[in-house]
């Protein structure tokens, strides 16, 4: 019948206690770890980035110097050749010899040619068929005529392959001619990208309009636009973070002087920070290990803690149970002090009446009048027996309440039983017990607990009114919203305000030593809490006290659930 499953609720309580303990312990132990780890990582990250940028910048600075020197050397070489020989000498075979020497030594130049002032190729040594070409309209031709020495950007030209040239103007008499050398594109690209770091690190050059001048290994053919956004000229080295095809790169860039090319070293972020991640991985692993150990420890500690609490709870429960039994014995004993009196009085009457009958019957002749007396006495004996029966039945009902598990009970029924017993004691004490039982809903509670609560209150009330005029204890029940309220009202001595706050404290008593345990109200309080109710006290010294116990009523059951 009882729908409550306390075992489950209790189990859930310990589970949630366990969960909370573990959560808190893990949180407490990991939070500093996470904080320290995070701060360390951030500092490490910042430091690492600075180191990487410095490395890249140093490399680029060095690389720019060497590339500038290289291009300078080439230009000097071409210029020297142009000024060392006359056109006639070169044409006679010196160019070919000189070029062979240069090419064998360096492998830098692809071809070399001499162009006259009208742009006509006079002489060409190289793999392409360019001997008859006229360069009058070529940009580089105009530039070299103008400047004397010119290093071009990459362009396709007549050979339709990307290349760049170094051209020198030589004035001879009233005319001039131009010595032009083509730099080996592959050689130059390799030279530019000779040094790299990591998996994605590469060096390349773009011109002032952002067009690739060298090959790249990871996207970007020569003469295609690089998309590099920071083309404004600057001195020294600049560092940018640039997105290319959805990847993020750390770019270090510096301008060359001649030609005005931008030398760029780029490396993917992920690659740049790979060593950092590798270093962090061990940290993270350590953290995870710590987390696992902390969690395991937390579980062990929490389990032990919960077990201790559980054990303490069980012990407390056992102790409470013991206390309940003791308290009940005491309370019932106190209340049934009146029972002896209530039985002995009718017994005395019965004894007297039977003596009276014997006296009358022992006459030699029983008169009609005596016979009526005898019958009347017999009837009175019957009345007294009935009186005794009421008391013993009441006692029986009263002490039969032993059920501690909750069931649906009619509070008034318990109050009726109890007041029968209470009246017996009250008569002895010279007090009266009044009951005002209202229409109250059923409550879901242990009958024993409810009985014990009220018995304690009534006993206290009878103690409070003892020896006072018009001593009266009222037991009242009424409905209060969805709850049931029991008031035990007395017109006794009242409770001193100083004591009011202590009355529910175990072992607090104002009774003489040996007469009160100080447990009655403490037990009441515990039981009321156990039943999910509240207990209140209202007292005026010298005028009386009212204890009000409010217990939750049984919630209206769904129609399907009938009585069992």
């Amino acid at each position: 019948m009882s729908k409550a499953t306390p075992a489950h609720t209790v189990h859930d309580r310990y589970r949630s206690m366990f969960r909370h303990l573990v959560q808190r312990m893990v949180l407490v132990s990991l939070l500093p770890l996470v904080a320290i780890g995070g701060i360390n990582f951030y500092i490490f990250f910042r430091h690492n980035r600075a180191v990487v940028v410095e490395q890249h910048a140093n490399f680029l600075r060095y690389h720019r110097e060497s590339l500038s020197a290289f291009l300078n050397n080439l230009a000097t070489e071409v210029a020297t050749l142009a000024h060392q020989y006359s056109l006639a000498e070169l044409e006679a075979g010196d160019l070919e010899r000189a070029f062979q020497v240069i090419r064998q030594q360096e492998g830098v130049f692809t071809d070399v040619g001499i162009i006259n002032s009208s742009g006509q190729h006079l002489m060409y040594i190289g793999p392409y068929d360019l001997a008859q070409r006229n360069y009058r309209e070529a940009d580089w031709f105009k530039q070299v005529v103008d400047q004397g020495l010119f290093i071009s950007d990459m362009f396709l030209g007549f050979r339709a392959e990307p290349h760049f040239v170094i051209a020198v103007k030589r004035v001879e008499g009233n005319d001039f001619w131009i010595l032009r050398a083509t730099v080996n594109t592959d050689y130059f690209s390799k030279l530019v990208d000779a040094v790299s770091s990591g998996r994605t690190g590469e060096t390349f050059i773009i011109n002032s309009t952002g067009v690739f001048q060298t090959k790249t290994r990871f996207g970007g053919a020569i003469l295609t636009p690089s998309g590099y956004p920071n083309l404004a000229f600057h001195d020294g080295i600049q560092v940018h973070e640039v997105n290319w095809n959805g990847r993020r790169y750390l770019c270090t860039a510096t301008w060359l002087d001649n030609p005005r090319w931008l030398l760029i070293y780029r490396q993917e972020f992920a690659d740049v920070y790979a060593p950092l991640w590798r270093a962090s991985a061990s940290g993270i692993a350590l953290f995870l290990l710590g987390a696992i150990v902390a969690t395991a420890l937390a579980i062990v500690v929490a389990r032990r803690q919960v077990r201790i609490v559980h054990k303490a709870d069980r012990e407390k429960e056992a102790l409470t149970q013991e206390l309940l039994v003791t308290g009940r014995t005491a309370a019932v004993g106190e209340l049934s002090a009146g029972v002896a009196h209530e039985i002995n009085n009718p017994l005395a009457t019965i004894d007297t009446l039977q003596t009276w009958i014997r006296d009358l019957a022992s006459e030699s002749a029983v008169s009609a009048e005596d016979l009526i007396e005898i019958l009347d006495s017999a009837r009175k004996i019957g009345e007294q027996v009935e009186r005794c029966k009421t008391i013993t039945l009441g006692l029986l009902k009263f002490s039969r309440r032993v059920e501690t598990s909750p069931e649906e009970i009619d509070l008034n029924e318990i109050l009726e039983e109890l007041s029968t017993m209470a009246r017996a004691r009250a008569r002895v004490e010279g007090a009266t017990i009044a009951t005002e039982l209202g229409d109250v809903p059923l409550i879901l509670a242990s009958p024993l607990y409810v009985q014990q609560i009220v018995v304690n209150l009534v006993n206290n009330a009878l103690d409070a009114v003892a020896g006072r005029p018009q001593a009266r204890v009222t037991i009242r029940s009424h409905r209060r919203n969805t709850a049931v309220c029991v008031d035990v009202i007395d017109n006794g001595c009242g409770i001193a305000p100083d004591n009011l706050s202590r009355i529910f404290t175990p072992f607090f008593t104002t009774k003489p030593v040996g007469q009160g345990t100080g447990l009655g109200l403490a037990i009441c309080y515990g039981l009321v809490k156990k039943l999910g109710g509240t207990i209140q006290v209202n007292s005026t010294l010298g005028q009386g006290t009212t204890f009000s116990v409010v217990l939750p009523a049984v919630p209206p059951a769904p129609a399907a659930e009938g009585d069992v």
């Binding site: 002896a340 209530e342 039985i343 002995n344 005395a348 009457t349 004894d351 007297t352 009276w356």
Partner: protein, 144 residues
């Protein structure tokens, strides 16, 4: 219906017929008990009166004393011990036998200290009670 002469003769044949019958006052709020007891005692020759509470009994003895008083301890209003003390004050010659259905030794000691002749527990056999009344009436009197 009480016939003192007859009762005296039957109860105490050795006693002088000229002697006054013993006056007994029964005080108890348990009416059926003292009503029945009164009948039994009257038939045995006692002059019996009943009162159902302490103040009425005190008013009665203030008018005219009795020889023996059977007094219940636990009564509504004024209890037996209080009545006893008052009786001892206004009429110390009265022998008071306290009766109780309640089992309390504290009360017994207090009653004897207060001057009760005896303290008995209900139900007390009637014949013994009659004996007790007799010895109470014959006890050496306090100088009144």
């Amino acid at each position: 219906m009480a016939d003192p002469e007859k009762s005296l003769t039957r109860d105490d044949p050795g006693k002088s017929l000229t002697r006054d019958a013993v006056r007994v006052l029964l005080v108890d709020d348990e009416a059926p008990f003292i009503d029945a007891l009164a009948k039994v005692l009257r038939r045995r020759g006692y002059l019996v009166e009943t009162n159902y509470n302490g103040p009425a009994a005190l008013a009665r003895i203030a008018q005219e004393p009795v020889d023996v008083m059977l007094l219940d301890v636990k009564m509504q209003g004024m209890d037996g011990l209080a009545v006893l003390r008052e009786v001892k004050r206004i009429a110390p010659a009265i022998a008071v036998v306290l009766m109780t259905g309640h089992l309390s030794c504290d009360d017994e000691a207090a009653a004897l200290r207060a001057g009760a002749f005896a303290y008995v527990f209900k139900p007390h056999p009637i014949d013994q009670l009659v004996e007790l009344i007799k010895s109470a009436q014959q006890r050496p009197r306090d100088p009144a």
